[in-house]
Symmetry: C2
Subunit: 387 residues, 2 copies
C-alpha cells in the first residue's frame, strides 16, 4: 500500500488506501476491455465475469441473496435513490438520528419538503457507553420518539462521529412491531469492511434493514466511486427506481421495457467497470486476513490501544467512555481541532476534525501498527506540551 509507505495514516473512515494489487486489477481490466473492444460482442463476458463475482461476494459480506444487492457510485446514491422511490403520503414523518451525515440529512429535508413530510430527531449522540446498556437505552429512546406517523427511520450502523455501534437488527425488529411498519434506512458508510455484517448466529444488520448503503472506498480499501446497497424484499416489491437508465430496465433496448425485478432496478447507466475489478481484489485481500469477527478484533486492538493512550494524555478527552467497538476513535484536546489536524499533517500524520461534536477523529484498521499508534500519541503529547 503505497499510501502507507510515507506517512502515518488514520483516515480510513474518510478514504482507505488502495493496495497495489487492486490498482493492478483495475489497470488490467481496462487493458482487457481495450483489447477485446470497449463495445463489442467479446467484452460482455468479461463484464459479466467482473460484476457477477463482486455482486456475489458483496452479497456474502452483507449476508443477503445476490438479487438484493445493487451497485452504486457512492453511499449517498445507495441511501437516496431507493428513498425517493418509496410511496409517501403527506403528513408522514421521517425520523433521523442526530448523528447522520449532512448529505443524507439534506436529502431527507428535500424529500420532506417535496412530499409534505415531517422531520423528527432520534437522539443518539450522547450514547457512548457499554454495548448492552447502550442498546437498551437506544431502544427506549426509539420508543419515545416513534409515532403512528413515523414512516422511515434513518440510522447509521457505526456512527461516523462518536464511533458508537448502533443495534440495527434490534431496531429493525422494533420497527416491525409498529402498526405502520416504518422503513429502515441504514447508512453503512463506516461499517462495510470494519464490522462483520453476516456472521452466523449474529443478528444481521444488513439483512434486517430495508436500505443498507455502503461504499467500497473507506474500510474496504477499494477505489473511490463504487459502492453497493442491500435492499429488502419489501422495498424491492413496493419501491420504484428514481434515477432510471438502461441498467434499470429488464430489456435495455426497448423504451417499453419494465424495470428489473431485483436490485438492479436501482442501478442506472454506464459506470466504470474496472473499479469493480479493483474492489473485488481489495475484498479478497481482506477475506485473506480472516473472517469478519477476527478482523474486527484486530481493528479493536488498535483502537483500544489508541483510546487508552489518549486517556492518559493530559487535556485529552475521548468521546467514548469505554474502548471503541470498532476502529473510530474520536477525542478532543485543549487545542482547536483544525489546528491540530494541520500541525500533525505537517509531520506526515493524518487524522481529521469533525464539526459536531467539534473534535478530532483517528481511525485504526488492520494495517495500523502499534508503533504508529504510539507515534500519534507522542505527537499529540508534544502538541499539548508546554512549548
Amino acid at each position: 500500500m503505497p499510501a502507507l509507505a510515507n506517512k502515518l495514516y488514520f483516515n480510513y473512515g474518510g478514504q482507505g488506501p488502495l493496495p497495489d494489487p487492486s490498482l493492478a486489477a483495475i489497470i488490467q481490466c481496462w487493458r482487457q476491455i481495450q483489447h477485446l473492444g470497449p463495445f463489442s460482442g467479446e467484452v460482455w463476458p468479461l463484464i459479466e465475469r467482473t460484476t457477477g463475482p463482486l455482486r456475489q461476494r458483496l452479497a456474502r459480506w452483507f449476508g443477503v441473496a445476490a438479487h438484493r444487492v445493487a451497485f452504486t457510485e457512492n453511499v449517498t446514491s445507495g441511501c437516496v435513490l431507493p428513498l425517493w422511490g418509496l410511496p409517501w403520503q403527506q403528513g408522514q414523518e421521517l425520523l433521523l438520528s442526530d448523528c447522520e451525515h449532512p448529505g443524507v440529512v439534506a436529502a431527507c429535508r428535500e424529500l420532506a419538503r417535496r412530499e409534505g413530510l415531517g422531520l423528527a430527531v432520534l437522539p443518539v449522540k450522547d450514547l457512548r457507553g457499554a454495548t448492552a446498556e447502550l442498546d437498551a437505552a437506544m431502544l427506549e429512546r426509539l420508543d419515545q420518539v416513534l409515532t403512528p406517523r413515523t414512516r422511515l427511520v434513518v440510522l447509521s450502523h457505526l456512527l461516523w462521529n462518536t464511533g458508537q455501534v448502533m443495534p440495527i437488527a434490534a431496531v429493525a425488529e422494533r420497527l416491525r412491531l409498529q402498526a405502520n411498519q416504518p422503513w429502515l434506512l441504514v447508512d453503512g458508510a463506516q461499517s462495510l469492511g470494519s464490522l462483520p455484517l453476516a456472521e452466523e448466529g449474529a443478528a444481521n444488520a444488513a439483512a434486517a434493514a430495508d436500505i443498507y448503503a455502503c461504499t467500497g472506498h473507506k474500510w474496504c480499501c477499494g477505489p473511490e466511486g463504487l459502492g453497493a446497497v442491500a435492499l429488502s424484499e419489501r422495498l424491492l416489491g413496493e419501491g420504484q427506481p428514481t434515477l432510471i437508465g438502461w441498467r434499470s430496465l429488464s430489456h435495455e433496448g426497448s423504451a417499453g421495457s419494465g424495470f428489473h425485478g431485483d436490485a438492479r432496478r436501482y442501478e442506472v447507466a454506464t459506470s466504470c467497470i474496472p473499479l469493480m475489478a479493483g474492489l473485488n481484489q481489495s475484498l479478497q485481500l481482506l477475506d485473506a486476513e480472516g473472517d469478519g469477527p477476527r478482523r474486527l478484533e484486530r481493528i479493536r486492538a488498535g483502537s483500544r490501544q489508541l483510546w487508552q493512550g489518549l486517556r492518559r494524555l493530559p487535556g485529552v478527552r475521548t468521546l467514548l467512555e469505554l474502548p471503541p467497538s470498532a476502529g473510530l476513535v474520536s477525542f478532543s484536546t485543549a487545542a482547536n481541532p483544525e489546528l491540530v489536524v494541520r500541525a500533525l499533517g505537517d509531520q506526515g500524520i493524518w487524522l481529521r476534525s469533525l464539526e459536531d461534536p467539534h473534535c478530532l477523529r483517528a481511525c485504526t484498521h488492520l494495517t495500523t501498527t502499534e508503533a504508529e499508534i504510539n507515534q500519534l500519541l507522542e505527537a499529540l503529547e508534544r502538541l499539548g506540551g508546554p512549548n
Copy 2:
C-alpha cells in the same frame, strides 16, 4: 489506442477507445492520490487541479460559463437528476421525441406517473433529409404537437438511431416564444466530441438547452463512468437537486447547509477523481486535432465514404437519404441485423444493431481510416454475396 490495434472498430457511439495517454493519466492520478494520502490535507490541491481545469475545458466545449457545468456519472444522471428537481404541476405534459434512448423514456414515464403528468410524442424518426428542409419540417412538427400544457421537451442533439442532427438552438428559441416556457432537455450522448457545440457564430445548442447532458466515454474517448451536464441559469434558479450528497452542499460539513448556487448542487458525493484526469487528457488529444468544425469535417469525410459505399452495395439501404451530418451511419441489409453483427464480429469487425428502427449502425471517428471503411464494405459485400 490499443483498442484499435487488433480490430476494425465502428462502435464509437457505444463506447470510444481509451488512448494510452489517458489511461496513463488515470494511473498517475491514482498514484499521486496514494502518495499524498487519499484523505489528507495535501490531496485537496491535487483534486482541485484535476477537477478545475476539466470543468473549465468542458465549459469551453459547451460554450457556457463554468458555473453551469456539473460532473455526472453518465448521460442518464445528467438528464434525470435535474429533471426530478423541476417544479411540476399535475396535468402538465412531457413531450418526447420518438428517437430518445429507452433509459430516458423510462425515467420520464416514471416522473409522469409520480407527478400526474401527461406524455406526448414528437415524431422525428422519419426526418432524414437535407439540413435546411429538415429543420423547417422539424419546427413545423414541433408547432403541431406543442400545447399550452407542454412543460418539457426531450430531444437528442444527434439522434442515436437515424444519425440525424436536430436543430436544438432553433427549438430552444421556439420554446421561449411559448407562454408557458417549456424546459428543454437535450440528450447529448452522441454529440460531445463529435459535433461542435460552441463555435463562434454558430447557434449554440448546449447553451440554449436547460439540461444538456453528455458523457465522456463515447466520442470524447474518455473513461467510462464520467459525464457532464450543462444547465441553464433558469434551471439553476428554479430547480432543486434530487440526489443530494456532500458535494451538493455549499458547506459540506454541516447538515444545516444550503445547496451550492451553481451547477455543483447537482453533483452528489464521492466520485472517481482519476477518471477526470483521463477525460481531460482525452479532450486535450481531441483539441490537438483541430477545432470542432475541422474535426467534424474529418468525421464526416469518413461517414460520407461509408454512406456512399453502402448505397452501392446490393440489398443495402441507408437510413439517411443524404450523407450524414455527423459520424453515425445506420443502414439495413437483407440479413437479420443481429446475425450480421455476429458474423462481422467473428472477423474482428465491430458495429452494432439497433432495435427501432431494426437496423445496423456503424460509426466513423477521427481515427477511422479510409482503408478500414473499405474493409467493412468488402466484408458486408461478402456477407450479402451468393455464398
